[in-house]
């Protein structure tokens, strides 16, 4: 195991009886993840994927000693599901659900502050320790056990980084998608901190994108605290400034939020910047060999 899961990890899936929940939980189980229970209010007592279903997380924790949760419940119920997990003593939560109202999430953040909970997501593909443990919806086949820790906030682009490092032979320790919602749980800093401490992880890839100030905030931490090699791609370097780019919103000409600014502050913090995602693997390899 690398980060966020170890031999004691026992997973409950909130929303395992739904179509998406059942499909992806089955994939996780097939990958070797110790899923011990599901929770769906009103369905307690049933069995799905040969695991018991409970009405509440509290029961699941009491009965199966679950300490980690993966959440697939619908967006308007997701905040309640996260709070229920925290209240029941779950300490790592991966929230796959997308479309959670921002007001719900800021309340969740305020309430769980100081609880020492690792919340990944929402709107996250989850996390995977290659060839060991998967808690999410990423395709399993492309991951290969190795030495690179990957953290990304650019959903499908995460897989791009994974494929690059697999193809080049470096492989991954753990890959974490922190989600692409504006209100998120763990940030780049939180995950990079874990990679820095993890003995198996030799290098770190950080995949960002234009908009927001998350990469800017991460730069200072990297400069101060990170000694491992770290490589970054920021999606959207060619996006025209002043234009609305889908969910990212309007991209400024320069300054906070623009790709140029993000790349500049990261480079100053000692991060290697690549211009295209296709270079992620080769540049990391160069670093190790060069």
């Amino acid at each position: 195991m690398a980060i966020l899961a170890d031999k004691t990890t026992r997973v409950v899936c909130q929303g395992m009886t739904g179509a998406e929940g059942a499909y992806h939980t089955a994939q996780c189980i097939a990958y070797g993840t110790p899923v011990v229970a599901g929770v769906t209010p009103g369905r307690g007592g049933e069995r799905v994927l040969d695991r018991p279903i409970f009405d509440t997380v509290k029961e699941a924790v009491d009965e199966t000693a679950a300490n980690t949760s993966m959440i697939f419940v619908p967006p308007l119920q997701a905040a309640d599901a996260i709070l229920e997990a925290v209240d029941s003593g779950i300490n790592t939560i991966v929230c796959i659900t997308r479309g959670i109202p921002a007001h719900d999430m800021v309340k969740v953040k305020s309430i769980i502050r100081g609880h020492g909970v690792n919340l990944i997501g929402p709107n996250s593909p989850g996390m995977i320790t290659s060839e060991e443990f998967k808690l999410g919806v990423m395709p399993s086949g492309i991951h290969k056990k190795g030495t690179i820790g990957i953290v990304s906030r650019a959903d499908s682009l995460t897989y791009e980084a994974v494929m690059q490092t697999t193809q080049i032979g470096l492989g991954q320790t753990t890959t974490v998608g922190i989600g692409s919602d504006s209100v998120m749980g763990m940030s780049f800093v939180d995950v990079i901190k874990l990679f820095e401490q993890d003995r198996r992880t030799k290098g770190i890839i950080m995949v960002g994108e234009i908009g927001g100030d998350l990469e800017e905030l991460t730069a200072q931490y990297i400069a101060d605290e990170v000694r491992k090699p770290i490589l970054s791609y920021i999606a959207g370097v060619t996006a025209p400034p002043g234009k609305r780019m889908g969910h990212v919103g309007v991209i400024p000409e320069s300054g906070i939020g623009s790709a140029a600014f993000k790349c500049a502050v990261l480079a100053e913090a000692g991060v290697q910047i690549v211009q295209s995602p296709t270079e992620l693997g080769s540049r990391m390899l160069e670093y190790f060999e060069g």
Partner: protein, 384 residues
Amino acid sequence: MNLHEFQAKQLFRAAGIPVPKGEVVDTPSGAVDAARRLGGQQWMVKAQVHAGARTEAGGIRDFNDLEKLHCFAQEMLGERLITAENSPAGQPVNQLLIERPCGVKNCYHLSVMLDPRSGQVVFQGGLSECRDSAELSDQSPGNFFQVEVDPVVGLQPFQSRQLAVELRLDRTIWPPFFEITQALYRLFIAKDLLLIEIGSLVENDHGQMMVLDVRVQVDNNALVRQPELAQWADYRQDENQVLGNGLGFIAMEGDIGCIVNGSGLALATLDIIQLNGGSVANIVEIDNGASTDALANACQLVWDNGRCSCILINIVGGIVRCDKVAAGIIDGIQKYNITCPIVVRMEGTRAEEAKALFIQSDEKIEIVKTLDDAIILLIDTPES
């Protein structure tokens, strides 16, 4: 999602926040009738588009002559208003807001926004150089100050007082100001707003407070529980938008159409094509919620009646399953009779099944293994 000014003011009125008397109209004669009903000798006429800086763009004018007002309405309605804040194509003016002007003694701006990083609701205020047209565009970078509200705790009375003191409000208007701040906070929470930006919160000649100009943004994720606001969506205002059926659309000026899953991959695809000398016509982002119909619609949007000369389909499956996407796209190609070259790169969940579907479909589709391979096929002049 943005609201129109008249919609925002309707919310304010219902929340007990004072706004000028006004009517929204969609015809020139309606504009004149409205002005007559409002009475007085002077009227503000405000073009309703989802953008600021309307005054400088000629979208806000005041009149004391009904004939001139009629002419202005005739000019504006049905045209596109181009302001410093929207795209070169501008936005369509389909409604005008007619209001009685109000004498301004002091003018302030006050925003309420959700800070995603801190998770706080931020009130930001400052003095405003007020004009009677009273619309916020570029603020002179004056003395802004802010008060952060924990959304679990809510706005406390002392925070309203801090705002009043920082704004140096005359004490006689503290009570209405406190009511307005509390009403704004309640509205912000109750309606799942991401932004309330009051360009001109004025103290008028009678010592009353009133909101002359406001922009409001609603959380798209919350529209399912805000049905009354969802009805107010005006998709004509935004060329690039999340379409609500699991598709997002970004219009560009080039010739390569792209269908991609996820915004990160969309941006990366844009980067790779453009860094290799290509140019993108448009990008449709699809997400997990996209139905087969929506996927077919994605093809139509990208194809745009032949505007693009080739199409790249770049999907890395995760929660999105490649085979489902492939089926929808094949439908779309046939339905909309798309004739240009199509290059497909699919990886991840059920990618092999998807490729098999494309091969079976008999459409002229090139399947490639990597993005670099796709680029070679798409771009005629790779050396540029």
